[in-house]
């Protein structure tokens, strides 16, 4: 049996890599993928705690997080396509004016 702490440390590493991806990358698609990575790191700690406490509620929260991630991906990718149509770029730092 693997200690829960190992899973939590792995979850921290994956979450940090996601944060670094959002901070460092300018490509909107990669920024979105990094956000997905962060959501998944949190899912991992949910499942680890569910196993530790013997409660199935953590799995249901994983289910909810997945549904929200799907909604977020659909809207976010639609935004990226709209940005690409207007500016012919997916670099998030080139979309810096509020007026279309």
């Amino acid at each position: 049996m693997i200690p829960t702490v190992y899973y939590l440390i792995l979850s921290t590493i994956l979450f940090t890599l996601g944060v670094i991806g959002v901070m460092v990358r300018r490509n909107g698609l990669v920024v979105f993928m990094s956000i997905e990575l962060m959501l998944n790191a949190v899912n991992l700690s949910f499942v680890a705690f569910a196993r530790k406490l013997g409660a199935v509620d953590g799995h249901i929260f994983v289910f909810f997080v997945m549904a929200i991630a799907a909604a977020e991906a659909a809207v976010g990718l639609a935004l990226i396509i709209a940005l690409f149509r207007h500016r012919t770029t997916v670099q998030v730092d080139e979309a810096n004016v509020l007026k279309g």
Binding site: Y6, I20, V24, G58, A70, A73, I81, T88
Partner: protein, 164 residues
């Protein structure tokens, strides 16, 4: 055996997560993310979360990543549209701050009580156990979730209009 599987899945997940933020080509990033998510599904199985692992494969590495790859192919970015690599001090400050916060979280985790996990029931994490809980205790949040998804679909359709 379980230890070996844990460290194998963890190592592959971390390496492909690094590859996700390292790769210049978005397709390579997407494939790296698929590998990370598949490894996480394996870790879910090790934690006896069978239903969550199935959903991870079906919904995440299946549906959501297909959506990403589909958009990448649709945009068909050329090399000059990816932009020249730029190095700004802000990036290093941001990365360093992320590492510092991760170290703080890790220290807190390591200080916690490392009690043994409780033994679980025979049907822990199966569709039956999760479904019973989902459709009794968590029925209202589940119904609200359908509204969220409907709103997201409507928003994506409107954003996708040609004359936005």
């Amino acid at each position: 055996m379980v230890e070996f599987l844990f460290f194998a899945f963890a190592a592959v997940a971390v390496v492909s997560a690094v590859s996700l933020i390292w790769q210049r080509n978005p397709v390579a990033s997407a494939i790296s993310l698929v590998v990370t998510l598949a490894c996480q599904a394996g870790l879910f199985v090790l934690l006896e979360a069978h239903f969550a692992a199935t959903m991870q494969i079906l919904v995440y590495t299946g549906a959501i990543m297909v959506l990403f790859v589909f958009v990448i192919m649709l945009l068909n970015l050329q090399d000059h549209e990816l932009g020249a690599p730029r190095y700004r001090p802000f990036k290093f400050v941001g990365g360093a701050l992320a590492l510092v916060s991760a170290a703080l979280v890790a220290v807190t985790i390591l200080k916690t009580d490392a009690a043994k996990a409780t033994p679980v029931a025979e049907n822990f994490g199966t569709i039956e156990a999760v479904g019973l809980e989902l459709f009794s205790t968590y029925l209202f949040p589940f119904e609200v979730l359908s509204l969220v998804l409907t709103a997201a679909i409507a928003g994506a359709v409107i954003l996708g209009k040609r004359d936005l």
